[in-house]
């Protein structure tokens, strides 16, 4: 089967999307960008291929065995994948203990680490067996990290190896794991996964069918912040603006305006009926009004970024904030608090201020005449979305506002479509 890949090398995450020759999404992958773009691209691409396989599998297995079995298989596969990474992480940590920890602490450290990994494996097994399908992060670092920290803390509290020591071991080694090519491919893990769910014949047959379909990557297009680092010929590199526009068009064909607010920059894009960009504007040097600003605020308040939105949404009387200057973010916040203004009201004001900046950028490109799509990290923040909705309505009247749950893949999707169109 011919397929086409788009890779979006963002400053924080790298995404890959794979299409078949009809433009249907076959698979998607995402990973941290780290410092190594090549590796990040490779991981995201492998992920996309795996999910593509599963999609093929889905088509095949669903025919013979139904969705439940498929889901089980998918979970089992993810677990196998995780176990390989876990094994490698443990190995590296042991090496690190041998090489970098003073001898008198080594014993306790090894004991602690073994305990942690045993426990994590156990918990993962239990999770699988309990059929726990709650959604979690896509990143190995997040999944393992939270369990590791919790267990390390227990050990520290109980007088074993210190929490700080265990933490520093983890920090050092997790980066290594992320930057190592691991065997995460479909073919490596599907057999153990099948075994884990008891080799049901229907699934096995579906797997065989799916596995035998060759996936021939015909063309790849790279985009995003780090795109120039991709080993692609020039004509296979596209600006993120074009990819974003096209991606949004693929997700919501009626879209004519796109707003993307990421950590580092904000883009306002206008597209035509076929997803071709007709105008665009990006924020200037100043990061005011980008996602990063909200990050500063969260840090200043000592809360998680994801908590900002919900807190702001509780506001009944948003405060007017005139500047979203990152340099003064902290001071502004403290001054407002000292004036006795409520946290949620200040936060609501800050969200509105961020969106106001984006509104200006949109206005520079000609405003919002028609269907509108909001993407980027900030699109996941409910307070930002509601501020945007309100401001769009105030300024342009009722407009359809689209937000896709997979909006993070917009650029990669656009890239994949360019790959497909370019090959045609």
């Amino acid at each position: 089967m011919d397929c086409f890949i788009g890779i979006d090398l963002g400053s924080t995450t790298t995404k890959a999307v794979m299409l078949d020759s009809h433009g249907e999404v076959l698979g998607r992958g995402i990973t941290n960008s780290r410092s190594d773009y090549d590796r990040a691209a490779e991981v995201a691409k492998t992920e996309a291929i795996i999910t593509a396989r599963f999609n093929l599998l889905r088509r095949e297995v669903e025919k013979v065995a139904g969705t439940e079995l498929l889901e089980q298989l998918l979970e089992a596969f993810r677990l196998e994948q995780l176990l390989v990474q876990l094994g490698r992480l443990e190995e590296l940590i042991h090496d690190e203990i041998g090489g970098g920890v003073s001898p008198d602490l080594q014993g306790a450290a090894r004991e602690g680490v073994e305990h942690i990994f045993r426990k994590i494996r156990h918990e993962e097994d239990a999770r699988f067996n309990a059929n726990d399908r709650r959604r979690r992060s896509d990143f190995f670092r997040d999944i393992v990290g939270s369990a590791y920290f919790r267990l390390a803390e227990e050990i520290g509290n109980e007088g074993g190896a210190s929490f700080d020591l265990l933490l520093s071991l983890y920090d050092k080694c997790i980066i290594l794991v992320e930057n190592e090519p691991l065997e995460l491919g479909f073919h490596q893990h599907i057999d153990p996964a099948l075994a884990r769910i008891g080799e049901p014949p229907a699934a096995r047959k579906g797997v065989q069918e799916a596995a035998s379909i060759p996936l021939n990557v015909q063309s790849s297009v790279g985009t995003g912040y780090g795109r120039v680092r991709l080993p692609f010929p020039k004509e296979n590199i596209r600006s993120e603006i074009l990819c974003h526009g096209l991606g949004a068009h693929m997700m919501f064909p009626g879209t004519r305006s796109v707003l993307d607010i990421g950590g580092q920059d904000t883009k306002a894009i206008q597209i035509d009926a076929s997803g071709i960009v007709t105008r665009f504007q990006m924020n200037d040097r100043c990061a005011a009004g980008c996602g990063r600003y909200l990050g500063y605020i969260a840090d200043e308040m000592n809360i998680g970024l994801h908590e900002l939105g919900p807190m702001a949404s509780k506001s009944t009387r948003p405060v007017r904030i005139n500047s979203t200057c990152t340099v003064f973010a902290g001071a502004e916040l403290r001054e407002r608090l000292s004036l006795g203004e409520a946290r949620e009201d200040i936060l609501a004001g800050l969200h509105r201020a961020v969106i106001l900046r984006a509104m200006s950028l949109l206005a520079r490109t000609g405003g919002v005449d028609d269907e509108f799509t909001f993407t980027g990290g900030v699109a996941r923040n409910e307070a930002a979305v509601s501020a945007l909705r309100q401001l769009i309505e105030e300024n342009y009247g009722q407009r359809t506002l689209n937000i896709s749950p997979s909006s993070i893949y917009t650029g990669a999707l656009g890239g994949a479509v360019f790959a497909l169109r370019g090959a045609a």
Partner: protein, 424 residues
């Protein structure tokens, strides 16, 4: 400073010699007793100055040369140390910094002190403060030549008369005083005739860009072409000679179907024809140019090359009306045109030069150019139906040139134009 080398045309070599010898003559001025007049590029009255045997010095040219030679950063820092705000025009700060660092000019020779500051106030507010500042350092007379702005799109007759009156009653007596010579209208007329000749040739050169491929780059190359006529050589025999040579060179390229020399080699294949508004960046001049030439983009018309006169609109210095023609000249410089006129000029360029796109390089320094440029952008887009590009840099402050950022925008812009072309 970029080390990007490129092939030099014969005219460029000649220009370099002319400039070098002018600066040598300036260095010797204290001995030769040739009086020195500092003045500005827009509204420079070189013919008049030279008709009294005085030598012109143009601080803006020194500032831009300092930028090209990698010296502006230190000069600006020097000026800011002396209390100049980071917010204001960097030409001024570069010049003040140069003065405070010994007044060594761009070619390494010492610049003489002015005998007169001729503040020809033509469309830039900063000029006024600039010479108020220089006056603090030099104990010399200053003449303020007030040129009214073309608020309603023309130099009104009463305003023209007002300028002539000032020439007669203020400037000429002062020039007589510092030079010890009487005003010689015939000598002035001879110089004006040389000007007019050079202007004919310059217009032919600039309009040659209507050919395809264009034999010149009207922005990056254009700033060299206007060099002599904007600085000390308008109204001189050598200036007229230079333009004759340049015109022949350009006409030869037209005949041979050749493009201009650029940092990416000779640009015969021109993928995009652009109109550019705004001054260039001087600190990364070649690097900036290469971002265009690498993409096959050729600038066919620019407004910056009109700050020292808008000759393609028909104006020529007229030897038959020496003072009236100087008034017309001052009133008609690009910086003295109102915003609707600037919009119209850009729209005309887009049509007359069959451009694919137009781009604004907005420089932080210059309110005269930059305040309102986003409105110009929207208006030109509306009238021509062509999407505009927008980038931000500075003239001589390297802190405001972020290569990755600018390249990203330019690439996105070119790709957008390409996508449009592909559809059309």
């Amino acid at each position: 400073m970029s080390q990007l080398e490129m092939k030099k045309d014969q005219s460029m070599v000649l220009q370099k010699q002319m400039i070098a010898s002018h600066f040598e003559r300036l260095e010797q001025a204290p001995e030769t007793k040739e009086p020195v007049v500092y003045t500005f590029v827009p509204g420079n009255l070189t013919e008049l100055i030279r008709s009294f045997g005085c030598l012109p010095v143009l601080p803006e040219i020194n500032a831009l040369q300092s930028g090209m030679r990698g010296k502006s950063r230190a000069y600006i820092r020097e000026a800011e140390r002396h209390g100049h705000s980071e917010d204001v025009c960097t030409y001024v700060k570069c010049d003040v910094g140069m003065m405070k660092s010994g007044n060594i000019g761009p070619t390494g020779t010492r610049l003489p002190k002015p005998d007169l500051l001729l503040l020809s106030y033509t469309g830039c507010y900063t000029f006024m403060k600039w010479f108020e500042l220089l006056r603090e350092e030099y104990d010399c007379p200053t003449v303020f030549l007030h040129v009214p702005y073309q608020g309603d799109g023309v130099l009104e007759p009463q305003h023209r008369a007002y300028v002539i009156k000032q020439l007669k009653e203020k400037l000429i007596p002062m020039l007589e005083q510092i030079s010890g010579k009487e005003f010689d209208e015939e000598a002035l007329a001879q110089r004006l005739a040389w000007s007019s000749q050079a202007e004919d040739d310059l217009v032919a050169v600039l309009e040659a860009a209507k050919n395809s491929p264009s034999p010149i780059d009207s922005y990056f190359g254009g700033v060299y072409y206007v060099g002599p006529i904007f600085s000390a050589f308008r109204g001189t025999a050598e200036g007229a000679e230079y333009y004759k040579l340049l015109r022949a060179e350009v006409e030869a390229r037209v005949a041979a179907g050749q493009g201009p020399e650029t940092p990416s080699g000779r640009l015969d294949e021109q993928r995009f024809r652009l109109v550019v508004e705004g001054p260039p960046n001087w600190t990364h001049f070649r690097e900036f140019w290469k971002m265009f030439s690498d993409e096959g983009a050729c600038v066919v018309a620019s407004t910056y090359t009109k700050v020292g006169g808008t000759y393609e609109r028909g104006f020529r210095h007229d030897p038959k009306d020496p003072l009236g023609t100087l008034a017309d000249y001052c009133g008609g410089c690009y910086t003295n045109l109102n915003l609707p006129d600037r919009v119209q000029m850009l729209c005309d360029y887009v049509t007359e030069y069959a451009a694919d796109g137009f781009l604004i390089n907005s420089v932080k320094s210059c309110n005269s150019f930059s305040a309102g440029q986003l409105v110009i952008l929207q208006e030109v887009e509306k009238r021509t139906g062509i999407p505009g590009g927008f980038i931000e840099t500075d003239l001589v402050d390297p802190r405001y040139f972020s290569p990755a950022n600018i390249k990203n925008r330019l690439e996105s812009y070119f790709q957008m134009l390409a996508a449009r072309k592909a559809v059309a």
